[in-house]
Structure formats: structure tokens, C-alpha cells
């Protein structure tokens, strides 16, 4: 399904993922421990980046695990990687959380550099081609980064970002697209 750029580690990772998916599909509770060990750092990091408070991040991570377990039968491996799916579940729950806590728009658009999550050292993730946050942010210009963060971590639509930043929708789309192009080049 995926274009394999780094054949050996990538296919190995895929194989592990296929096994994990199979165990989760079989309702094997022990698989959730493996799941946690494999994905918790990535999921927790993103959740923390969104909710900004550790105790809330913990709650969201647990809620996400419950949701992932219950909605697992609806996960379709043909449509994408397990990582993408679970990351979206976590992102959605975290975004719901900050909205349910009636975070004001102003607080959502506060400078990214102030977030607690950013100051924490990013741990090496499970993918061999993993690229650190520092390198990624060096490659993105601030405008691109702001838009990606609002879209990805803020749960904003492109129209909302346009309104928020007082930019034409076309500009937002162009920047988002450019930013993602930079990111995808980095991982190739």
C-alpha cells in the first residue's frame, strides 16, 4: 500500500504493525500493552502539545485507548496505517477536550513556542526514518508552521485559519500545501 522508500526497516515495521492489528482485531487485551509501548510517546506528545497540561494529557490518552479499543473493528487497514488512525483519534479527543474546557480562541492561537510540550525533549520514535522536531521546524518557515499547527493541533479548518489570521483562504491553502510538501520531502 505504501511506497516503500527504505525497504528493510519499513517492511519490518509494517509486519509488526500487521501483527498488532491482528491481535487487536482478535480482542487480545495483552496487545494494548504492546500498543502502549509502541505508540504512547508519539500519542502523548501530540496530546500534550494540544492540551498543554500533563494531567489532562494523561486523561485524554486513557480515553483514547478506550476509544481505540472499542472502535477498533471500524479501523480499515486498507485506508491507512494504524498510526495515522490512532493519532487522529487522539488528536480529535484532545481537541474536543480543549474545546469542552472552553478554551478561548485567543489561547489556542498563542505562540507555539510558549507551549510546554515544545520545551520537552522529543524522544526517539519508533520509525527508523524519524526526523526530529528541530530539523522539521528548521525546514518550515514560521508562516507555514503556524498554519500547519493551527490545522493539525488546533483542529481549525482552513477557512477558520483564514479568518483567524485575516488571510485569504487561497493563501492559507497554498501555505498549508507548501508546508506539507516540505514535510513529505523530509521523510523521503
Amino acid at each position: 500500500m505504501l511506497p516503500v522508500s527504505v525497504p528493510t526497516p519499513e517492511s519490518a515495521a509494517l509486519e509488526t504493525e500487521v501483527l498488532l492489528v491482528q491481535r487487536l482485531r482478535d480482542r487480545d487485551e495483552g496487545a494494548m500493552t504492546i500498543f502502549y509501548d509502541k505508540y504512547s510517546a508519539a500519542l502523548y506528545g501530540v496530546i500534550l502539545r494540544i492540551v498543554k497540561k500533563e494531567e489532562i494529557a494523561e486523561d485524554v490518552l486513557q480515553e483514547a485507548m478506550v476509544k481505540i479499543w472499542h472502535s477498533f473493528p471500524s479501523y480499515d487497514a486498507d485506508k491507512g496505517r494504524l498510526f495515522t488512525w490512532v493519532m487522529n483519534v487522539c488528536r480529535n479527543l484532545a481537541i474536543d477536550k480543549i474545546r469542552s474546557r472552553q478554551y478561548r480562541v485567543g489561547s489556542r492561537t498563542q505562540p507555539i513556542e510558549e507551549s510546554a510540550a515544545l520545551r520537552q525533549a522529543a524522544e526517539p520514535a519508533f520509525r527508523p526514518e524519524h526526523i526530529g522536531l528541530q530539523e522539521m521546524t528548521r525546514q518550515l518557515n514560521p508562516e507555514q508552521r503556524q498554519i500547519v499547527d493551527l490545522l493539525y493541533f488546533g483542529g481549525f479548518t482552513q477557512s477558520e485559519v483564514a479568518e483567524e489570521l485575516s488571510l485569504p483562504l487561497g493563501t492559507v491553502k497554498t501555505r498549508a500545501r507548501a508546508a506539507i510538501k516540505v514535510l513529505s520531502k523530509l521523510i523521503r
Binding site: 505504501l2 511506497p3 494494548m32 502502549y36 509501548d37 504512547s40 510517546a41 508519539a42 502523548y44 506528545g45 501530540v46 502539545r49 494529557a57 494523561e58 486513557q62 480515553e63 485507548m65 478506550v66 476509544k67 479499543w69 472499542h70 472502535s71 473493528p73 471500524s74 479501523y75 485506508k79 496505517r81 495515522t84 488512525w85 493519532m87 487522529n88 480529535n92 479527543l93 481537541i95 474536543d96 474545546r99 510540550a117 522529543a122 524522544e123 520514535a125 526514518e129 524519524h130 522539521m136 500547519v148 493539525y152 483542529g155 481549525f156 479548518t157 482552513q158 477557512s159 477558520e160 491553502k173 497554498t174 498549508a176 500545501r177 506539507i180 514535510l183 513529505s184 523530509l186 521523510i187
Partner: protein, 298 residues
């Protein structure tokens, strides 16, 4: 359709960012299935954002692992399969759902909002429900435990009362018995008392009894060693023989006859010998000589 234009429209990025509605999302997936170029580009975009997410990885505190895994297990235990959100179409694709609740303007589906809210509510509500259920169960257990302990306490108190009553009754009995023995002992040890062996007549050769007689105080005690059991309705009667004339010294109680205790008899003014006969219960005025069982001289 112009594939290149489609790819450059920005819709694939929106797909990966999860800002598309369910319908738009399905459309992107349909087109990607038809056009390998679109599919390849879509995967690139998705992987780019995955990598961006991964770059933010923060290893959670070590103690969080246990808490989260335990909390998860508890949550899935308390959620019965019926309460599990059904695996419906909308939940197969989380990203479009996020657009719905918070951004109604972006063509959101109300369904998405519901599906998305469910797990959080279920988890929180479930936890609360579980806590309430656990509290009620604990309270009931505690009440039951108290009730059982109370019953046991009452039972114990009742038993103790019975035991104390029995103990005091036993003590009283023992005290009386001890007094009696003391008195008997005084009799036996008193020099003034003279022991008279009453031996069995040919009628009952094995019979044996002893009389203690105090000529000064006139007191008479009888101590049976061995006497045949008297026939029903009969009793042994002790006689003092004073100058050959029988004088009634009283009848023997059943316990005395059995040899269980020494019995004080009627005072006798003067005697040279004692004998026992078997008489009707309550005793008679003059002895039936044919039933004489034991006899002995002073």
C-alpha cells in the same frame, strides 16, 4: 478530470489534516482508488503529517504507563458490549469527524459529533458509574458485615450470660458439696466419734456399712460401703440397739445407700449396736428382723 489540478487543489492536505466532511472524505478515497497518482500523493501527505506528529513525541512519565493501562482495562471491563459504541461507518474515519462539532460552518455532520463525543462521555460517565456502583457495593458489604458482627456479638453476649449462670450455679453446688464434705471430714476426724462396722448378715454377706456415733452429742452418721439396692418402694432403715431394744435412727437417702455421701441420722441417746433393715419407704416403727442386712456392735 485533471489529476494534477486535483492534487494541487489542496484537498489531499485537508484530508490528511482531518478537516474534510465525511462526504468529501469518501470522495477523496474514491478518487485515490481510481488514480494511482492521487493515491501516491495522498499517502505522501498523510505520512508527512504522521512524521510531523511523531516529531512531537514525548515519552510519558514511567508511572503513567501503569495508570493508563489499568484505567483502560477498568473502563473496558465496566463497559458491557451493549454499551460499546457500534462500529458504524462514521467511526471508520476519525479525521472528518473532528471538523463537525467545533466547526459547524465547515459542513459538519451532526452524526460525527455524536460519535466523537461518545467515548469521552462513556469513559467519564462509566468511571463515575463504576465509582458509584463500587461505593454502593462497599456500603452494602459494610452494612452486611456490621449486621453479622452485631448478631455475633449478641450471640456471644447470650452465650456468656448462660456460661456465667452455669458457672455460678456450679460454684454454688460445689460450695454446698464442699461444706458437706468439710462437715463429714470433721465428723470423721473427731475423736469423740466412734466408728462401728456394720457387716453383712448371711442374707447379704457382701454388704458393708459404717456408723459414726458420738455418745456425747448423740450424733449419728452413716457411711455405706456396699449395700444391695433395695426393692422398689423399699428403703434401708437404721436402728440403734439399746439394751436389745431397737430404736429408729432414720431411713437412708438413695445417695447414701448408693455410697455417694455420708448422711447424718437421728440422734441416739444410747446404743451398744447398730443394724439396718429393709422397710417400706419412709420407715416403720419397729424393724422387720427378717430383712436385716447389716449389723455391728460398738
Amino acid at each position: 478530470m485533471n489529476i494534477q489540478e486535483y492534487i494541487e487543489s489542496g484537498i489531499l492536505e485537508e484530508y490528511a489534516l482531518g478537516v474534510l466532511s465525511e462526504v468529501e472524505r469518501a470522495e477523496v478515497e474514491r478518487i485515490a482508488r481510481q488514480h494511482p497518482e492521487v493515491d501516491r500523493e495522498l499517502q505522501n501527505v498523510v505520512r508527512a503529517l504522521d512524521a510531523y506528529a511523531e516529531a512531537h513525541a514525548v515519552t510519558p512519565p514511567a508511572d503513567l504507563r501503569e495508570r493508563v493501562l489499568q484505567g483502560w482495562q477498568q473502563a473496558i471491563r465496566e463497559t458491557t458490549p451493549a454499551a460499546t459504541p457500534p462500529a458504524n461507518g462514521t467511526s471508520t474515519t476519525p479525521p472528518p469527524m473532528m471538523a463537525s462539532a467545533a466547526a459547524p460552518a465547515a459542513g459538519a455532520t451532526p452524526d460525527g459529533a455524536v460519535v466523537r463525543q461518545l467515548p469521552a462521555q462513556e469513559s467519564n460517565g462509566g468511571r463515575t458509574r463504576w465509582l458509584i456502583a463500587a461505593s454502593v457495593a462497599l456500603l452494602m458489604l459494610s452494612a452486611l458485615g456490621n449486621f453479622m458482627l452485631y448478631n455475633r456479638l449478641k450471640e456471644t453476649e447470650a452465650n456468656l450470660e448462660v456460661a456465667q449462670t452455669e458457672q455460678s450455679r456450679y460454684a454454688a453446688t460445689q460450695k454446698a458439696a464442699l461444706n458437706e464434705r468439710d462437715q463429714q471430714l470433721r465428723v470423721l476426724r473427731n475423736e469423740a466419734f466412734r466408728a462401728v462396722e456394720l457387716k453383712g448378715t448371711p442374707k447379704a454377706p457382701q454388704a458393708l456399712a459404717r456408723v459414726y456415733y458420738n455418745p456425747q452429742t448423740k450424733a449419728v452418721y452413716v457411711d455405706v460401703r456396699n449395700l444391695p439396692a433395695p426393692p422398689a418402694g423399699k428403703q434401708y432403715q437404721l436402728w440403734a440397739l439399746d439394751n436389745g431394744k431397737p430404736v429408729d435412727a432414720g431411713v437412708l437417702a438413695a445417695a447414701t445407700t448408693a455410697g455417694d455421701s455420708i448422711q447424718q441420722m437421728k440422734d441416739i441417746a444410747s446404743a451398744q449396736a447398730f443394724a439396718m433393715t429393709v422397710e417400706d419407704e419412709g420407715g416403720v416403727a419397729s424393724p422387720t428382723l427378717s430383712t436385716m442386712t447389716v449389723i455391728g456392735n460398738l
